[in-house]
């Protein structure tokens, strides 16, 4: 039945496992492990509002290069980062992973169901994620990550843990 259709199964699995690894690093609060997944030239963008726009042309929920992410990661682990005390417990559930080749890179689309519990309060967010990956299976690096929040155009409470 499958004749004539041959997805690169190993690549699909490798990409899935890479996204699961990223999720696991975040959920286990291994912030520097997470940072290491990003290429030195990477950018991380969470657009604001419901419309699409270039991050260079307006404010964002978050728009950072790796240098800024380094600062962010230091703070995430800082003992006096109040918004992380008590520590949030999270799950980053990744689904709907699909790939498009954008030579020499790989564009990966997926969905995120994010759940956080902290100090008695829950936060549930969903988003479509877009990862631009470089490198080969087992050695992927994130070139660009964009998080299209479902409620990007709504009101937000503080979001401490990266999505």
């Amino acid at each position: 039945m499958s004749a004539g259709y041959s997805p690169d199964l190993e690549l699909h699995e490798a990409v899935r496992q890479f996204l699961y690894l990223e999720a696991r690093l975040l959920d286990s609060r291994d912030w520097t492990g997470w940072l290491d997944l990003f290429d030195e030239s990477a950018s991380y963008f969470i657009p604001l509002g419901g419309e699409e726009y270039d991050p260079e042309t307006g404010p964002a929920l978050l728009y950072e290069d790796k240098a800024l992410l380094r600062l962010r990661v230091t703070r995430l682990g800082h003992p006096r980062a109040y918004a992380l005390d008590p520590q949030p417990v999270t799950t980053h559930a990744i689904t709907n992973v699909s790939l498009t080749r954008k030579e020499p890179h790989l564009e990966v689309s997926s969905l995120l169901n994010f759940h956080q519990f902290r100090d008695g309060e829950e936060l549930f967010l969903t988003a479509r994620l877009q990862h631009l990956l470089a490198g080969a299976p087992g050695a992927f690096k994130i070139m660009r990550k964009t998080v299209f929040l479902t409620n990007a155009g709504g009101w937000h409470s503080v979001m401490s843990v990266p999505l």
């Binding site: 950018s43 969470i46 604001l48 509002g49 726009y53 260079e56 042309t57 307006g58 404010p59 964002a60 929920l61 978050l62 728009y63 950072e64 290069d65 790796k66 240098a67 800024l68 380094r70 600062l71 962010r72 230091t74 703070r75 800082h78 003992p79 006096r80 980062a81 109040y82 918004a83 709504g154 009101w155 937000h156 409470s157 503080v158 979001m159 401490s160």
Partner: protein, 438 residues
Amino acid sequence: MKLSHLVKDRKIHHRLYSDPEIFELEMEHIFGRIWLFVAHESQLPEKGDFCLARMGRTEVLVVRQKDGGIKVLKNSCSHRGTRLCAAPHGHTGAFVCPYHNWAFNLDGSLKALPHAQSYDEQVCPGAADMGLAEIPRVAVYRGFIFASMAAEGPSLDAHLGPLAAAIDNLVERAPNSELTICRQKTSLVYQGNWKFHHENANDTIHPSIVHESSVNSARTTPVDMADFRADKGQTKGMMLANGLPPQDWAKISLSGSALGHSFMGGFYRSGLLSAAHEDDVAKAYRVALEKAKGKQKATEILAMDRFNNLIWPNFNVNAQFHQIRVVHPLRHNRTLVEGYCFRLGGAPDEMFRRASRFLTALVSPTSMIFGDDMEIFERVQKGLGSDGIDWLDMSRGLGRESPDDSTGGQMTASETASELPIRSQMQAWTHYMGDLEI
């Protein structure tokens, strides 16, 4: 009991923050009377342009009229009250209600309705009382549109008083004196009383404590300055700035007025954002400003080094970095903070990028800085609970005020890391609320 009994010289009763009944009275007697910022003119360049805004808990339409004026109308159809518009902004010739197609002119008057023949003369195009409810007073100060639900009261100029200078300065920072507001705004909700925002914004003790995690992260993370491609180190500078030593924070001047307004001096002492620092972009901008306004005037404009200009009860102008914030009370323990940035007409594009990055770094829900303020606001609300403490203290620097010369003595100043701004806010609060009985 008169509400004035809940505010003393040095103390605030916790019910101002924890009592839903007092919140209802605030909505009626403060947000229902005072001048509130509703929009910037650049949101409504053309006749028929409109945008949504909030006045307290009321949703209104701010509409550019055919004659170029501006009206503020309630967003509720006069037939059965249906919410007219849900889109945050738009352009139209008339507002048409989705329920029965009643159409309203830009000035809110009833324009047309189907089956008009089934109505008597009281309901017809142009009929008195059948238009959209109009907010009685609207005034524009240099492009900033304010409205008041009270038909009578002090003028906008009287209300702004010396704080008008903050708006002036923001406008004049545009070489061509034209500002364009950016549509992308941040919308951050915290579980705490609305007054916490302004009480905190000019509190010069908290930054080095509350923001220690970001100060420290900026100090200790080894990053080459050249690696900050996205913002040339601006965010790092913002993070560092809060780490001024206590004695320096104490020197930051604070001014407050009986109207509730206050401002603090700038505290960016080094780096990209400091007034002293000038890189290529800042230089190109200064040159443009000098060209447009003359060297002396440009120097004066750039010399105004203030951080938060708080216009009571819910507006904040950060002229130097081309930002404003609007604070919307939602419930006694729930508040929305909207943040906007501006494009300066005639300035290099890069100046707007900087303002965008500033807003993103400071007021976004993911902010490494503001996130800790928000967390504090929520801890205060939790700590107050229903009976955490009886009275909050606001006595820091009490009795050490002097007239503020920079405002021609219209305000009172302090250089002692004073809680003067909070006392000013409480003075205004008592003015509006003190005579009410509870």
